[in-house]
């Protein structure tokens, strides 16, 4: 698709939730929106396959959900505000989700946030986080 928005430089590590993503992700986001209701959260836990089928998830969306891949869900059009409701079913918060997307431990992800509070720039804190993850895992 072409449009004036493509004139903007991409932002590294960032996936804008635009019309393309919203169209692509509609079914997945609709399922996640249903999780505002506790009965629906329980229905998902009781029979995930049937619940996903009810919302007509695309094969790409179903695979990402089965793999609990946040980046996979985003690639399949998931919006983070809706995905957070799915994450909540598993008791995951935004640091857990951050750790899953950056490929580091939750402790290292949290340390990266604290390092920015201590005055490091994002790039400094991020590079240190990746380095620490390589050394200590």
């Amino acid at each position: 698709m072409s449009g004036p928005q493509n004139a903007s430089e991409p932002i590294p590590g960032t996936h804008l939730f635009d019309g393309n993503a919203a169209a692509k992700g509609f079914e997945l986001n609709a399922m996640c929106y249903s999780f505002n209701d506790a009965a629906n959260r329980q229905a998902f836990l009781d029979d995930e396959e049937a619940y996903c089928a009810k919302f007509h998830l695309t094969p790409q969306q179903r695979k990402a959900v089965a793999e609990r891949s946040v980046l996979g869900m985003i690639a399949a059009g998931g919006n983070i505000y809706y995905l957070a409701k799915l994450a909540g079913i598993f008791g995951l918060n935004v640091q857990d989700v951050g750790s899953m997307q950056t490929g580091v431990s939750v402790d290292n992800f949290k340390a990266m946030l604290l390092a920015q509070g201590a005055g490091q720039t994002y790039d400094e804190a991020h590079d240190a986080m990746i380095e620490k993850e390589k050394v200590h895992g």
Partner: protein, 280 residues
């Protein structure tokens, strides 16, 4: 004539609600953040507002992606919170000020803002948490509200310039309101943070500083970036600063006086900020 007593800006990170619920305000992680609200409590006790115009964004509680208004204005007699899906406590309901809502709606449409009017609107943590922070010990909120929901979720988002203009048009509407209310303007969300993608955890102190330094004296400075550039600088969710810009517009076109600021990194994944301003 109604009086605009000032504006209150605050982050609305969901985890704050959990911390309040568990009484963690004095824990080392939370204290530097909650300490920033002492001045807010004192100020509110002094200026005694009875109406709040609130600019915030829905996070998939009231609006789904089947219908996504750019600017939605509440015109309900009551606003309720509901289960957001991930274990937040349920928050108190809010009383609406329907007559003022319709006055603002009429004035905005007259001024060619094609807003969406909502006689029913659930409100989520983006509205409730700022109130929990401002009035921590009340059984019912001391103000009636007129809520605005700005689309900060699905691009294209309204430009910062348009959000500032919307706020200024709200200010114009308030100038022609003949009631004698004391009105506080509230802007919620931000500042810099990003929850999604490989850049999750991104925070930008320098940009936040720029926004806070200019918001009172030269809000137009915040409107020179495109939304895309704002996302680059503030993060995908940091773009919620659009709510602050609209709220600043509602305070009036003249330079405002900053009377309080607190800024703390991190609260959850966010650079948390609090500001108070009074009209010139």
């Amino acid at each position: 004539m109604a009086e605009i007593v000032g504006a209150y800006f605050t982050s609305h990170v969901p985890a704050i609600g959990g911390a309040i619920h568990k009484g963690l305000q004095q824990e080392p992680y939370w204290k530097p953040f909650f300490d920033g609200y002492q001045k807010v409590h004192e100020w509110l006790a002094q200026v005694k507002p009875d109406v709040a115009i609130v600019f915030n964004n829905d996070h998939g509680l009231n609006f789904f992606l089947d219908k996504m208004p750019t600017f939605a204005v509440g015109a309900a007699a009551e606003y309720h919170n509901a289960d957001e899906g991930w274990g937040l406590p349920l928050y108190k309901p809010f009383a609406g000020h329907t007559e003022l809502s319709w006055h603002i709606i009429n004035s905005l449409v007259e001024d060619e803002f094609d807003i969406t009017t909502c006689q029913k609107m659930l409100v989520d943590h983006a509205l409730s948490i700022p109130f929990e922070l401002a009035w921590p010990d009340v059984s019912a909120w001391p103000v009636k509200i007129v809520p605005f929901a700005i689309n900060t979720v699905q691009h294209p988002l309204p430009s910062a310039k348009r959000c500032l203009a919307l706020g200024q048009a709200v200010n114009k509407a308030l100038q022609s309101w003949t009631g004698d209310e004391r009105i506080v303007i509230i802007g919620t969300g931000g500042l810099s943070h990003q929850l999604d993608g490989e850049r999750a955890g991104y925070i930008n102190r320098e940009y936040d500083q720029f926004c806070m330094d200019n918001l009172s004296v030269d809000p137009a400075a915040l409107t020179r970036d495109s939304v895309h550039e704002m996302v680059r600088k503030a993060g995908t969710q940091g773009v919620e600063v659009l709510n602050w810009i609209a709220a600043r517009g509602a305070l009036g076109v003249e330079a405002a006086t900053e009377i309080h600021r607190n800024y703390h990194i991190p609260i959850s994944n966010t650079a948390a900020a609090t500001m108070l301003m009074e009209p010139a």
